[in-house]
Symmetry: C2
């Protein structure tokens, strides 16, 4: 199984241009290439699943970002795969691993792009891209490490049905908080409560009741933690319900299509001061030193039945160029990944 096979074909998705909004098919090309060989000191990975992440929008943006994928490069992505050839002393052939393997079938990468071992006897490969991947780690770092959760306090989470939001809700319930989610569409709302354990979920697309009224009703004791993946008008509706001493965790800005130029909104300085708020932006990888501890906790919660994944796997790399837009349209039925 591990060795490259005679009939293996390398397929990859390359970035062809910057995206003004959400990256789509016009920003990528699917190409066939020669089979890569194992690099000196590195490994050759047969990719099992490639992630599709909201953060990818930022990587293809012309604007400043914490990470950029240049035109011409294979699309950067977290993936899981099996090492089929190794020139590394650290990683052995046959090991299943998580790392930066990109949107491609075979990845010839330096040792440093292999991030950690995965164990598919604990959970299937897709879970290692969701609850035991960056989704779970992002939720753990942002919520448990940065937001200082306190039992019986209230956390409000946007994109509550998404990969990160669903994990935050479950972590909140496991730690005794009231968890209120906001998501788009009846199915996401249903999942948020029935599968991820949210005490209440608000559909921002339901137009009968103003979102502010729904938030007020769902958070009778106000909001102590606002875990925000959307920004924009939706976040504006939340600010009036923040309690004194509340923490805002900025994990994403999915609801704002373009930041060039930055859109305007209500100034926050007075709220920050009067309510003594703490507002923090973060990127999970800044806290990589905590990942081993976080992964252990996430696995323990999973074993105890307190953390479940919701994954959707698309078959074939031809789905990749349109997958980010699919994500932003909310059409995915769970954490989206692609079997290349």
């Amino acid at each position: 199984m591990s060795e490259p096979h005679q009939g293996d074909r390398q397929l990859m998705v390359r970035v062809t241009s910057r995206a003004a909004g959400i990256p789509g098919p016009e920003n990528f090309e699917l190409v066939e290439a020669t089979m890569p060989i194992c690099p000196p000191g590195g490994v050759l990975v047969r990719v099992m699943l490639c992630a599709v992440d909201p953060a990818m929008r930022g990587w293809l943006s012309a604007e400043a970002n914490y990470m950029t994928v240049p035109d011409g490069a294979v699309m950067r992505a977290h993936s899981v795969g099996e090492i089929i050839s190794s020139n590394s002393e650290k990683w052995q052939v046959g090991t299943k691993v998580f790392g930066w393997f990109g949107w491609q079938r075979f990845a010839a990468v330096p040792e440093s792009d292999v991030l950690w071992r995965i164990d598919t006897s604990i959970a299937p490969p897709e879970s290692w891209l969701s609850i035991f991947g960056l989704n779970g780690l992002t939720a753990w770092v942002g919520f448990l490490h940065l937001a200082r959760p306190v039992a019986a306090q209230t956390v409000l989470v946007t994109t509550a049905g998404g990969g990160v939001g669903s994990a935050v809700g479950q972590l909140a319930k496991a730690h005794g908080l009231r968890a209120v989610g906001i998501a788009g569409g009846a199915e996401k709302i249903r999942l948020a409560v029935a599968r991820f354990g949210y005490d209440h979920a608000i559909d921002y697309r339901a137009e009968e009741t103003p979102i502010a009224t729904q938030i007020a009703a769902a958070c009778p004791a106000g909001i102590d933690i606002f875990f925000d993946n959307t920004a924009g008008h939706l976040a504006d509706s939340v600010f009036p319900y923040l309690n004194v001493g509340a923490r805002i965790i900025q994990c994403g800005t999915a609801a704002v299509a373009s930041w060039l130029p930055p859109p305007t909104g209500p100034r926050r300085e007075r709220d920050m001061l009067v309510k003594r708020l703490t507002w923090q932006g973060f990127v999970a990888f800044d806290h990589a030193a905590l990942f081993a501890k976080a992964l252990q906790e996430l696995q323990d919660l999973h074993k105890a039945g307190k953390l479940v994944a919701q994954d959707e796997v698309l078959d074939g790399l031809h789905h990749a160029p349109g997958a980010i837009q699919r994500l932003y349209r909310g059409e995915n039925a769970g954490r989206l990944s692609i079997r290349p």
Copy 2:
């Protein structure tokens, strides 16, 4: 000296109405009243100096605030004075103290309004309202406790010539940071550098050079800590120069005259995320448990010649009703207080 005298007259400034903008003479009345008597369990204080603070605007606002002074009440203010009569077991006659004594000549207050003892042999009474009062404590809490200063990093401070800003600059220099101040007018700029030790000070009223150009030139390595007392357009000019991981400390919002309704400005969610910023609002009294430690450090710095005050004392309570506006016009030549 301590006892009330035959000829003592009680004078007080009472709040008569909410202020839409900066409170002024129309929101107060100066009245003569009967001499108060020492309350059961409390003390009678002869007030030596009454503070005039930017925060007072919020206390008289019709908008939500962390503190409100109701119509009809004596204007709330920090003051220093001497206890001239005591029914408290904690506080003895003759003790000089700092506390909530208001804008009046004599204050009959419960024991809990007396905050701490002052020592006028170390520094004159006005210093106990400035560097050893809430100005110094606010600077200490916001800068040393919350902003996580690191030697050689750059801090940018607005209202750098004011009571809090001048202390932040001095604390920054004492801890090895590059300190850049923004203030209004040539005299404040001169003081910021010559007296408070700022490495550079920017005059936001000087119209020859755009403020952004001046900030860029003064902060060649970017900004790691933004200690903001102003908010609004001035703060907007600072955001592009914040470094990854920068801390924003919201200490005041002096440049925005009204928050009802909240003015709009550039949305910050993307900056928060991409630069992994931490933005924190605070009120010094939330951290009162640290005050004893802070006061000791402030006194040590003063003794070492690293922390000086800049005070302006007005004679007579008739100055009080117009004093907050004087402060916001920037006409004060230092931390403003009133000898009642």
